[in-house]
């Protein structure tokens, strides 16, 4: 039979959180979401400042007629926002630093950064 020592360790880590229910609870939102507008396939503002080490929320308002995908491997987010709609993008607690994001469907113009400090 196979042995899974890591599995036991993983369950030991996960069990307390499952037991007290914190595993499936939405994160507390400390600050109001930052509004990020997309128009003519450009982000405004294209520099977003957030506090480091705590979760944040960005609301992307797409004023273009076509869909755009907010894409950032730095922030680990891929989110499609349909034309003339808005979408909420959760940012996990970040270490201080600069994180790039782009609109994947118009990467030539839709570029921006998040600065956590």
């Amino acid at each position: 039979m196979y042995k899974f020592p890591p599995l036991a360790a993983l369950l030991a880590v996960a069990a307390p959180a499952l037991a007290d229910g914190s595993f499936f609870v939405a994160p507390a939102r400390a600050d109001a979401p930052t509004i990020l507008t997309l128009q003519n396939h450009k982000f405004s503002p294209n520099v977003i400042r957030i506090k480091a080490n705590q979760p944040a929320m960005i609301t992307m308002v797409n004023k273009d007629a076509t869909a755009e995908e907010f894409d950032s491997s730095d922030l680990k987010v891929e989110k499609v926002v349909a034309g003339n709609q808005s979408g909420n993008i959760r940012i996990r607690a970040l270490k201080p630093g600069t994180y790039k994001f782009m609109g994947e469907y118009h990467a030539a113009t839709a570029q921006g950064i998040v600065i956590a400090q």
Partner: protein, 278 residues
């Protein structure tokens, strides 16, 4: 004129789905009627991709704005379940099939059982990558003008190039000796499923449903970046991410453990029972 940015983005999405189709085709080599099921999966995926693209806004606004994340996580977990079922089924029956090769009818039965599951996997892969391509290409068409023609040309070439690479991967897998092929595809499917489970966790995190162990455990972007072509290919194949967090690693490890555990359990039970009755 050809727009290369468009070619690249479409190429990338097509290979991501094509890799999965290639692995499924290799895993079912020799199973009768498999092309019908795979074609059904692809067709279903394309139709679904159109629907998902058309209703992207509606899906996104469901469940307090996290419908898109929940939807993505759900279809990924569905694919993980189907891949697990296929591997476990093959572990218990594939061995007998290979050893005895007796009635062709038996092979048809066992093969077709999991063909339906794999058709779902193909459908889900095409649906996910396809909806991005549809949204992207629709945006191009909606823009109109001379650049739209160049970008459409790039899109068409991207689909063609992606299909060629996927076919090469499929034939590459087929070059593996028949005895080994089953082993190799089992591993590929196991890692494919583990990567999908980890990504489902990421979507659940981004939707706000899981928020523990979300700090990056390591960062190997200096070695292989998520945005590079190789990084993307490995992401699709084995779920590579440059900076996985604890919850994703748990999902990854757990999927492999459960898959191997189940395969081992049914794989050893079957022959033992057969020996007793023999």
């Amino acid at each position: 004129m050809i727009d290369f940015a468009t070619l690249l983005i479409v190429f990338r999405e097509v290979i991501e789905a094509g890799l999965i189709v290639g692995i499924v085709l290799a895993a079912t080599a020799g199973v009768p009627h498999r092309s019908r099921f795979v074609t059904l999966g692809v067709a279903g995926g394309v139709a679904g991709a159109g629907l998902v693209a058309a209703f992207a806004g509606e899906i996104a606004s469901l469940f307090q704005g996290s419908g898109q994340e929940l939807f993505n996580a759900s279809i990924l977990l569905l694919a993980v379940a189907m891949l697990t079922w296929h591997n476990v089924w093959m572990a218990s029956h594939g061995r007998e099939m290979a050893r005895e090769l007796r009635a062709a009818g038996y092979q048809v039965k066992t093969g077709e059982r999991t063909l339906a599951a794999l058709a779902v996997v193909v459908g889900v892969a095409v649906l996910r990558e396809g909806s991005e391509v549809v949204l992207f290409l629709y945006g191009i068409v909606a823009q109109g003008g001379a650049t739209a023609a160049a970008m459409t040309m790039g899109g068409v070439l991207g689909v063609a190039a992606g299909a060629v690479v996927s076919a090469l991967i499929f034939y590459g897998l087929l070059a593996i000796p028949a005895g080994r092929l089953f082993q190799v595809t089992s591993w590929l499917i196991t890692l494919l499923a583990a990567g999908m489970a980890a990504q489902a966790v990421l979507f659940l995190q981004n939707g706000g449903y899981i928020n523990m162990l979300d700090a990056g455990v390591w960062n190997s972007s200096w070695l292989l970046a998520d945005d590079s072509i190789a990084g993307r290919l490995l992401h699709t194949l084995i779920g590579y991410v440059q900076e996985p967090d604890g919850a994703q690693l748990i999902a990854y490890g757990l999927t492999i453990a459960v898959m191997l555990g189940l395969m081992r359990a049914v794989g050893t039970r079957e022959p033992a029972r057969r020996l007793k009755t023999a």
